[in-house]
């Protein structure tokens, strides 16, 4: 594709919510001109963007692609196609594969697979401890040499505080940061759902929010004491959000993420043991939903991340306790956030672009992909009047474990462009 002209689309940016319509010309992968009534030569592909939003493409820092080890759930190929389908053009993988990504050799393996199978950049995090066992430190320097920025034992917390403190002291000297899945296992029980009304009703031991909050506070204190940079993953509770707010005010080098499902759903949605609402940390209460949304608007949450966690139908159709934790998110995130929030005036495109495109890239040491002259083409065209039905046919993920399965929501991602390539066009 030599050149592409998007006509009359409203341009979204992280800076403001004035969605001014303009024409955008892309040549050789770069945005060369933004203006009114740009003329196209005959070789230029022209796409009518009137009534649609042209937004920087999203970037998701919390993704499980299950390869290597559990390719029946997802692969880097199917997972990156799912990302494109959801308007996401860069992902950071979590290291809880089998074997875990805890060495330079494993990082190289991931890059090799991505090189072969993925149409978008794939980054990976690396383990803090070998095999995520919480016993010995992983080969940190080797992974950092290959560009790893985020160290995490995601899926579990590092139980040994001295080990975590030493890891932070060691690695804070390098260009990297830690990410914490926060949970005190002794308090968690079977890790199935929130401790509350619904756990009582369903007769399953619940995980109290304090299991997450105590560990979060512990990890931020350790980071603050050692000077390490720390990112808190998938915050699910009001007190968790307030804990982060307090530590930010104290000057701790802490960032935090919230997932669409923790914003949109709560324990009541589990109904009669619906495993599409089972994840860890669990869905909590309506009060927590409101607090998390507030935290997102006020910037307590720096980024949105999905914790895309594919599982096969067979696994999810088990009883509630046996079924694995997690739901997919890559394909539903943008549309569901548009449907529930932007379309209802809860927040504007600038917030979505900031929290789900610009900030995640900055956190990973990458440049944001704003739609400006001279910028790299890395955007989506979104139709707010369109709609999306999340049918198995629509989804590119190998798994279907999402509460949005077969539901129809407002909004549609019509085009995904990265550089010279149209990755998706509907």
């Amino acid at each position: 594709m030599a050149s592409l002209l998007i006509k009359k689309a409203s341009i979204a940016s992280e800076d403001n919510d004035d969605l001014l319509p303009a024409d955008v010309l892309v040549e050789n992968g770069l945005i060369t001109k933004i203006g009114n009534d740009i003329e196209a030569d005959s070789a230029t592909r022209v796409i009518d963007g009137s009534g649609k939003i042209l937004s920087p493409a999203m970037f998701d820092t919390h993704i499980h692609m299950r390869e290597p080890g559990q390719e029946a759930k997802e692969t880097i190929k199917s997972g990156t196609e799912a990302a494109i389908n959801g308007g996401i053009t860069g992902v950071v993988l979590m290291p809880n594969t089998s074997p875990a990504i805890d060495s330079a050799a494993m990082v190289r393996t991931i890059y090799d697979i991505a090189e072969r199978d993925a149409r978008i950049p794939v980054y990976t995090s690396g383990c803090i401890t070998k095999g995520r066992e919480g016993k010995e430190l992983a080969g940190i320097d080797g992974m950092l040499q290959l560009g790893v920025k985020m160290l995490t034992d995601d899926g579990d917390a590092v139980p040994d505080m001295m080990l975590l403190k030493r890891a932070m002291e060691y690695a804070s000297e390098f260009d990297c940061f830690f990410a914490s899945h926060c949970e005190v296992l002794e308090l968690s029980g079977p890790r199935a759902l929130n401790e509350g009304k619904v756990s009582y009703k369903l007769g399953i031991q619940g995980t109290p929010a304090c299991s997450e909050e105590i560990c979060m506070d512990r990890d931020i204190r350790l980071a603050h004491a050692t000077g390490a940079r720390l990112h808190i993953q998938h915050v699910s509770s009001k007190i968790g959000m307030e804990t982060i707010r307090w530590w930010k005010q104290m000057g701790a080098k802490v960032t935090a993420e919230v997932s669409p499902h923790h914003l949109l759903f709560n324990e009541e949605d589990i109904g009669n043991y619906d495993t599409h609402y089972k994840m860890n940390p669990p869905l909590r209460t309506a009060e927590d939903n409101a607090a998390l949304l507030q935290g997102l608007k006020e910037g307590v949450f720096d980024i949105i991340a999905t914790d895309h966690a594919p599982h096969t139908p067979f696994e999810k159709e088990q009883d509630f306790v046996s079924a694995p934790n997690g739901i997919t998110g890559l394909e539903t995130a943008v549309v569901s956030l548009f449907h529930h929030y932007i379309n209802k005036g809860e927040f504007g495109w600038s917030l979505l672009v900031n929290r789900y495109s610009a900030q995640p890239r900055r956190m990973m040491g990458l440049d944001p992909v704003a739609i400006v002259e001279g910028g790299r083409a890395d955007f989506i065209l979104f139709d707010p009047k369109g709609e999306t039905t999340f049918s198995p046919d629509f989804m590119c993920s190998k798994s279907e474990n999402t509460p949005f399965l077969n539901k129809t929501l407002d909004g549609s991602i019509d085009l995904v462009v990265v550089g010279d390539d149209i990755l998706l066009q509907r």
């Binding site: 401790e195 009582y200 007769g203 399953i204 043991y273 306790v321």
Partner: protein
Amino acid sequence: MTRKDLLDIESLRREEIEHLLDQAAPFKELFTRSVKKVPALKGKSVLTLFYEPSTRTLSSFEVAAKRLSADVTTFDVPHSSVVKGESVRDTIATLQAMRTDYIIVRNQMAGIPLAIARATKASVINAGDGAHSHPTQALLDGFTFKEVFPEPAGKKLLIIGDILHSRVARSTSTLMRKLGVEVAWLGPGSLVPKHGPSEIKRFTNYDEAMKWSPDAVYLLRIQMERQSAPFFPSLREYTKLYGITQERFKRIADQGTYIMHPGPVNRGVELCDDVMQYQRCLIDQQVENGIATRMAVLYWLKPDTAGNESLTDEDTN
């Protein structure tokens, strides 16, 4: 007014509960006759699938099914290993092939009976799943309570013990409240859920609870294995604070309060020996009523297996 499955009390309407309790009465009368059997389920097959060891509930169901002339098969499942949901799913396929009409299931995991019910045409009766539900126990408790209090609305029931792990407490509390009975809980703070229905009164001390003048006290069995995880310091301390000791029994007898217990009892822990001889102790009556109410449940449920013959097309696909 009929259903395929009985999985919990929550989803039953009050009329359905009353209908079932009314149905149980004539079945109970049957027990006084020399021939205790009726041909109501002749030719039907009942399969019991107990993943947790149980003698009392299992035999109660077997007797109930046999008195309705059903054919009863015990599906032998290992109790020792923790049975994962996965293998239960494989078992369901096997059961479906057996063309059984009723499946009575007990499992340590909450929600397994529902998973089975969704996957089979047979009627599924939940005989206890984790800490979730034990609907036939609740029905037999309701039946027993109504025998002594034909107008249960406004009566008071005090449940004492380990509410947290008890499916009996959950189901019986729900059923009694649907009958208009006032329900209160008493037990160690670590064994009483904080998020139960707000309408259930919560007592923290025995004397205060008895001042509420309950019409019946329902004692829950203290699981001895809970001792390994310290929910309370010792059995001795439990008995001292929450047990029906000799001294407390005198007051109970004076007030004429009825005593209930799902069995089996731990003598000397939840209650002292004398309680078992007490005229208003309903424990044996509960056992007998268990058979009658389970007959009523089996008789009431309608499996989708009726007319299996016409399903051959679908089955051969």
